[in-house]
Symmetry: C2
Subunit: 334 residues, 2 copies
């Protein structure tokens, strides 16, 4: 067994995590007098990559993630998510992964029914169709895209606002600790490099600093970035963080790619999801070494330069090949 490195990540107990989303204030009591009755809601962060830009499926003009109650017809939780996500997109979903479950006090639409439990999922699809409802990831989280040209401006703005926020604190101890947190999360000064997986922690910091609309901040203070109702933007942040973590260790990007693709298109997808650039030659080396893709023989001509070979994902083929040339269990008589 090998351990490469142990990363220190911020596990700051945000006010919101403890008293916000996770808070529950149960009203309906069961016959046992202790078990609480709750209503179950399923929320999906459906993601696709279109023209090298990560998209998320939304409803209500981009202000809500698709979500719906667990219905009696659903065989399972995952089936429930699949069923109405496919209803919305008309396309089959590949990878589906549970994100987080929380009890939310904002979600009490029907107080007489008790509080609700929300179960969020990350779903990936290849859908390139022009359905309505798709929005850019980075419309909601502009600061998470470190490949854009406007990256410097938004970073500077955030830095100034955070600086002012910290400066307003009376306790020196707190001020120092919070400023250190700002530096680490937004890679200010020598606080370390940018960690693309800390999407949620950054959003929570901005929320605490009242720099996002959801935190009831003064409109002129809000950092650019689309607003979402309830805590759906927070759920999106969770999904982004999860997906960014996944693409490092698992070949899930292929769920988002078309059947055939060039290595550069693959790289673009990874870069857009991670929000930062990768070294082109090394990326190619990595992909080809691992034999996750195979040439289709065809060529993509419209690259704007030298034509590129087209590849396809061959995860299944690999398994089969790995199997070939291995001893089988002896079958006794038939």
């Amino acid at each position: 067994m090998h351990i490469k490195q142990w990363h220190m990540k911020h596990t700051g107990t945000s006010r919101r995590t403890e008293q916000g989303d996770d808070a529950v204030n149960v009203q309906g009591e069961s016959a046992q007098g202790r078990m609480s009755r709750v209503v179950t809601e399923l929320i999906a962060v459906l993601t696709a990559v279109r023209d090298g830009v990560p998209q998320v499926m939304t409803i209500d003009d981009g202000r809500l993630l698709p979500s719906g109650p667990l219905e009696s017809g659903h065989r399972s939780l995952q089936a429930g998510v699949r069923s109405w996500v496919e209803q919305q997109t008309g396309h089959p979903i590949g990878h589906v992964e549970q994100l987080y479950t929380f009890a939310d006090h904002d979600r009490t639409l029907h107080p007489e029914q008790g509080r609700s439990i929300s179960i969020s999922y990350l779903a990936l699809t290849r859908s390139e169709a022009r359905e309505t409802g798709w929005r850019d990831w980075y419309d909601y989280f502009p600061w998470e895209d470190r490949t854009s040209e406007s990256r410097k401006e938004i970073t500077n703005l955030i830095e100034r606002r955070l600086c002012a926020w910290v400066a307003g604190m009376t306790d020196l101890e707190t001020r120092m600790r919070q400023w250190q947190r700002c530096m680490a999360l937004f890679a200010i000064g020598d606080g370390g490099g940018w960690d693309d997986e800390l999407v949620l922690q950054r959003y929570e910091l901005l929320y605490e600093a009242k720099l996002v609309m959801e935190a009831a901040c003064p409109p002129n203070q809000a950092i650019p970035g689309r607003y979402m109702h309830r805590d759906h933007r927070r759920i999106l942040a969770t999904a982004m963080a999860r997906l960014r973590a996944r693409i490092r260790y698992r070949p899930v990007v292929f769920e988002l790619m078309p059947e055939e693709f060039t290595l550069f298109q693959l790289q673009r997808a990874v870069e857009s999801l991670a929000g930062c650039h990768v070294h082109k030659q090394n990326f190619r080396r990595l992909i080809t070494q691992q034999q996750l893709v195979e040439e289709t023989g065809r060529i993509e001509e419209k690259t704007g330069g030298r034509p590129a070979r087209l590849f396809r994902f061959c995860g299944e083929v690999r398994r089969a090949r790995q199997f070939a040339g291995t001893k089988l269990p002896i079958v006794h008589s038939g």
Copy 2:
């Protein structure tokens, strides 16, 4: 951004995952006619390491994980887990992490109330006290401990049983695919090395092959390993896999260690959790390089050989030091 390698893990759609734990057959309908009413249960996998052996807290003579309903007094889901876990152990819990949420059809104790949603958590504690209820991890999963002497015997037994299972299949295609799965998961033949994170997948395979008691197998077929009611053994498997994944990337082992420890004790803890050995000298190098620990100045004498230095975890100190010597945001008048 860098991607090191993309691992191919088994994502075989086990019968159980699709129709078992996750299955829900809702009965009670809400006033809206679609929203289903459910009862919420919290389940904790509370883990400690005692004398270099991972332990899990159980009730009902080791046949159940501590679990209880979400109560009206609980401020949040996590608070609910903390509250009754501390009730059972009397010790504060460190790391608490959500594992998975599922709707279970086995769990219908009160059909008139509708099905139940179970939310499982992984909790870590330093408790070394001699409470009852603690059980060895590997009482439930003997094959997951690759450091024990009996490792060969259990591996051979499993290999024989799986071989027989596969041999009984009529379809050649299926037989080959399943045997390949067996080889990969249990590192049989040249199917690759042992992956200590595939705890759940291995358990599911044994379940499918009807080699564990939970799968209603003939008693003489069952592989050694303690039985648990409902699907609690499966939840334990999920927790083990999660913890094994975590210790690679995060310094969570320290949550399980006493205040002071020798580097070898730390290594023992990691090895026992991962279920396999690590290179002693390299482990030391890794730990000291990352500056996660600092010497206490004291010495442990009872090592059986040369005395060892005692260390303590210094994650908090590190953050503070990292902060020192960095520009602060200027405080305007006050």
